[in-house]
């Protein structure tokens, strides 16, 4: 078995384990919600890392460009997602908390 085949098999088996683990954790209700959410996020990040290395062969190249572009894209992704959540959460706090029907009444009252 050559190195690459082993890489794909390890990646595949590990990914299955991480997928089933996260699924089982959610379905079994074993932990409290906050803990479950944290654990499945960690499992997801692990699986992403495993697939990046084992399937996409990140880090195996002779030059450093793939790693560098990945690092930059990862940073941009973190900013886009994290930044959006931060901004929207901030805006949400500053809004009047109305239900959809309250919004409709408010809008109707404007005319």
């Amino acid at each position: 078995m050559n190195i690459s085949l082993r890489s794909y098999i390890i990646g595949f088996v590990t990914s299955i384990a991480l997928t089933l683990g996260a699924y089982a954790l959610v379905v079994s209700d074993a932990l409290a919600r906050a803990e479950t959410l944290t654990v499945i996020v960690v499992l997801a990040l692990l699986q992403i890392a495993v697939q990046l290395v084992c399937f996409l062969h990140l880090g195996a190249e002779t030059d450093r460009w793939r790693g560098a572009t990945f690092g930059f894209a990862a940073l941009m992704t973190a900013i886009v997602i994290g930044g959006s959540l931060w901004i929207m959460s901030n805006l949400n706090e500053r809004m009047m908390q109305m239900t959809p029907s309250e919004v409709e009444h408010y809008m109707a009252d404007q005319s």
Binding site: T19, Y23, I48, Q51, T69
Partner: protein
């Protein structure tokens, strides 16, 4: 994998596609609670079904890898066999997802129903469209290789395609976790 300017360029494209999905994920995260009186993720999502989809797509990523290994070893028939398996799995995934979407839409829970459903259909639908495009690309590649053989150019194309296909499974990990598993918990 083959490292040349073309595959590095394609890798850079994949990174830009990451940003597209990042914004769709961010939108979904903001809107997932906006059910507008309609059903929520917990009520709508069928986890066993999604697990099946996940394992199918994951296996297709594995078979794609095996196909590229065969290609590097010059084993054309073996490569075509693994690519065929990948195509079957990919098309199955799309079929399952289409059935999921049509079921939701026919119940009135389409993308028009709420902000939550708009962002859900956009995120998951965009991923599905990528898988469909990748499947079409695969058919074209398989046809080309069957005719022209494993030339250097074909190897570069196959490598680029495989980057695309593996990337889609990475994105799906995010969807599986942040859309479906989170949905079942919130």
């Amino acid at each position: 994998m083959i490292e040349n300017k073309t595959t590095l360029g394609f890798w850079t494209y994949i990174m830009s596609d990451c940003l597209l999905f990042a914004s769709l994920f961010a939108t979904y995260a903001v809107l997932q609670g906006n059910t507008y009186g309609g059903p929520s993720a917990r009520e709508l999502f069928d986890l066993p079904f999604v697990l099946t989809e996940t394992l199918i797509l994951l296996t297709s990523s594995f078979t794609a890898g095996l196909a590229l290994l065969a290609a590097h070893a010059g084993k054309r028939s073996q490569m075509l066999a693994w690519l065929g398996a990948t195509l079957v799995l990919g098309v199955t995934f799309i079929g399952l997802e289409v059935s999921e979407f049509t079921a939701l839409a026919s119940e009135g829970n389409g993308w028009w129903r709420s902000g939550f459903l708009s962002s859900y259909f956009t995120l998951v639908g965009t991923h599905g469209a990528h898988v469909a495009a990748g499947s079409l690309w695969l058919i074209v590649l398989m046809t080309q290789v069957a005719r022209t053989g494993l030339t250097e150019r074909m190897m570069t194309r196959l490598t680029s395609w495989s980057l695309f296909w593996h990337f889609l499974d990475v994105v799906w990990i995010g969807i599986f976790t942040f859309v479906y598993l989170f949905g079942a918990l919130m």
